[in-house]
């Protein structure tokens, strides 16, 4: 990813945040993200994000589990080692249901969680820039990207008018990197240090 410049504004209340998001979008600024301490319902729609397809992925994983279980058990009982168990049929569908169900759930759940972590880049030792330490506590942090077409000062006064507080400009890595959270080691800072040395 890349190092970018951002204008950051803090909001105290989601009731102020919603109109501000709307204003930013109509004004045409590039809304990088809004960080909230809890899921704010409808904020994704206000920001114009598309619906997530995670459900569909979950369905596909589930179906995979169903077919895996059914085909594996049938293969074992009919093809690989057709054992006569008390004269019972080799394809006892009712007896296969419990395991089939469990594997459906298992595949869907594990698959979805992995997909979720992959899509959101979540993993131990993954680091991302935190724009404000209280974005996971009680503040709603709106981050607007400063492109070559944006006037940072104008964005600042715009945010102030929309009700934001503690407005500041930050230069930060927009993506993720591997690192320890007790160390201040944004990749671009590392680069600066090596060129200075």
């Amino acid at each position: 990813m890349a190092v970018k410049k951002f204008v950051v504004g803090l909001f105290d209340d989601e009731a102020v945040l919603f109109p501000a998001v709307k204003k930013v979008r109509t004004a045409g600024y590039k809304l990088h993200d809004v960080y909230t301490p809890f899921p704010v319902h409808g904020l994704d729609h206000a920001m114009g994000l598309r619906e997530t397809s995670l459900h569909t992925a979950g369905f596909i994983y589930g179906i995979t589990g169903t077919t895996t279980a059914l085909s594996f058990m049938s293969w074992v009982f009919n093809v690989d080692w057709p054992l006569n168990i008390g004269g019972k049929p080799h394809f006892p569908l009712p007896a296969f249901i419990p395991i089939t169900f469990e594997l459906t759930v298992l595949f869907a759940a594990v698959g979805m969680v992995y997909t979720f972590c992959y899509l959101c880049q979540l993993m131990p030792f993954v680091k991302k820039h935190i724009f404000h330490p209280r974005q996971t506590d009680d503040k709603f942090v709106m981050v607007i990207e400063v492109t070559e077409k944006t006037n940072a000062e104008e964005v600042k006064s715009f945010l102030a008018a929309a009700g934001a507080q503690d407005i500041n400009e930050q230069k930060a890595e927009a993506g993720w990197w591997f690192g320890r959270w007790d160390k201040d080691d944004e990749p671009y800072l590392r680069k600066i240090q090596t060129t200075n040395a």
Partner: protein, 478 residues
């Protein structure tokens, strides 16, 4: 006629006038401080129990399964009783977090985190019993269908014991994923306010780099909802499959179709009782009375009296069918050797604890009394332990061949093993209560505006105005 607008909100779910930051302070500050003396005392007692349990298990593995008092007639005793008991306890967590999420029950947010943790620890305890019961535990992997050099001879997919392997391991995995995905944002809250380097490092690892991005929250919500949808039938299936261990056999007293719903109701019954036991202590020690309110306890007590009555109906149905079914073996099991006979006392302990005493919860005063709830929660779990003991042992100790009739009492390694699982359970719970956010922070914050006491106060104005004025204002809202 004078109608009044009634707020849909009956009782605040969070007491006290709080803002978001106050919630964070209340829930995270116990993690940042030093644990109290009580915590250390409890933790070391649990560790001692765990140590004794480990010794008992070592003894059993070293000398073989013969150190247990099981015999040819009674092949399942305390071990399987304890297995079913712990699995049952493990049901409340997922029920609270999944089924109540689907039913949009706001009160779940105060108790779901601790209940899910309890589920995971209870399933960890449960899983050990069947494995240690195998005797040669180093062969435990034989239960997995893997390509082997014995043919390959596969496992028997028709066997309910194998279904159990799949059910319990799936249940554990899914509960763990559900719990941990909910914990990610809360770990991030701890990380971002951490003052010490070590805490920043450890919670940084645990939070997986969560930032609270809106897109991530959107996916997180979708994930929670689908996991809840998956966990709901799962939680019902797990105890259904546990009941199949008995119901698919031809032993009188086990061979009944009533078992799956009866076991599931019993599981929820005992699970909620255990949640009450733990939360009453937790809210007291961590001073969380404003988050885990009397309202929460009352709601859970209602579930307890409902499921307790379902279980009571099942007991009576069993007795009725034992007589009406006109099967002499079935009749003998229930009326000669279960409700009477050498082990009859256990049946009456079960009846008293599970059916009679929970009826106090029909009274609102009792439902909202902390002391009554605490005592009842323990009585219910004693009763539910005896239910499993009764089902297993009273069906086995008088079998088809009178010459093999026997009696059963546990040996010390069996008791020690059971105590050891208590040690494990409480060791895990103490660590959880100290180092994890015991209440789902983000979820509490998301209901604070609609269900907090501050909001309730604002609603008083609307409640006092007439219905006509309220309807008028709504119709002409600008």
């Amino acid at each position: 006629m004078h109608l009044k607008y009634e707020s849909t909100l009956r009782e605040p779910l969070v007491d006290g006038v709080k803002d978001y930051h106050q919630v964070t302070e209340d829930i995270i500050s116990p993690i940042e401080g030093k644990p109290g003396t009580l915590w250390y005392v409890g933790f070391f007692i649990s560790l001692a129990l765990l140590g004794f349990g480990a010794f008992s298990v070592f003894w059993q593995i070293y000398f073989g399964v013969g150190v247990w008092n099981l015999n040819k007639t009674i092949g399942w005793g305390w071990d399987i009783t304890n297995f079913v008991w712990w699995v049952g306890i493990g049901h409340a967590g997922t029920l609270i977090s999944a089924i109540l999420l689907l039913f949009r029950q706001g009160w779940r947010t105060g108790v779901n985190r601790a209940a899910e943790a309890m589920t995971i620890f209870a399933v960890m305890c449960a899983g050990q019993f069947p494995i240690i019961h195998m005797g040669r535990v180093w062969m435990a992997f034989f239960i997995l269908p893997y390509p082997n050099t014995r043919g390959p001879v596969w496992v028997n997919f028709n066997s309910p014991l194998l279904w159990d392997v799949f059910a319990i391991s799936t249940y554990f995995t899914v509960s763990l994923l559900f719990w941990y995905s909910g914990l990610l944002p809360d770990f991030a809250s701890v990380r971002d306010r951490a003052k010490t380097k070590l805490r920043k490092l450890l919670y940084g690892i645990a939070a997986f780099g969560w930032t609270g991005s809106t897109k991530h929250w959107q996916r997180h919500e979708a994930l929670s909802l689908v996991l809840a949808g998956l966990a709901t039938p799962l939680v019902l299936s797990v105890h259904t499959i546990v009941s199949f261990d008995f119901a698919t056999s031809v032993i009188p007293g086990w061979h009944t179709t009533i078992f799956p719903p009866y076991f599931v109701a019993g599981a929820i019954f005992s699970g909620f009782a255990m949640v009450q036991t733990l939360l009453i202590i937790t809210r007291k020690i961590l001073k969380l009375e404003e988050y885990i309110t009397l309202g929460h306890m009352e709601a859970m007590n209602k579930v307890i009296v409902l499921t307790g009555s379902v279980v009571g109906c099942a007991y009576l149905t069993e007795l009725f069918m034992a007589w009406y079914g006109a099967n002499p073996y079935e009749f003998a099991t229930f009326f000669k050797y279960r409700a009477a006979g050498p082990l009859g006392w256990s049946y009456w302990i079960m009846m008293t604890c599970n059916v009679i005493t929970p009826q106090v919860f029909w009274f609102r005063k009792m439902r909202r009394s902390v002391a009554v709830t605490f005592v009842m929660s323990i009585i219910v779990n004693i009763g539910m332990w005896f239910e499993r003991f009764v089902i297993i042992c009273t069906s086995l100790y008088r079998d088809y061949l009178p010459s093999s009739w026997s009696y059963y009492r546990p040996s010390w390694p069996e008791v020690g093993f059971y105590m050891g699982t208590f040690g494990l359970f409480f060791t895990c719970y103490f660590l959880f209560a100290k180092y994890f956010p015991v209440i789902a922070l983000a979820e509490i914050k998301s209901i604070l505006k609609t269900s907090g006491e501050n909001f309730k106060e604002k609603m008083v104005v609307y409640e006092e105005e007439s219905a006509e004025k309220f309807a008028h204002d709504v119709a002409h809202a600008h």
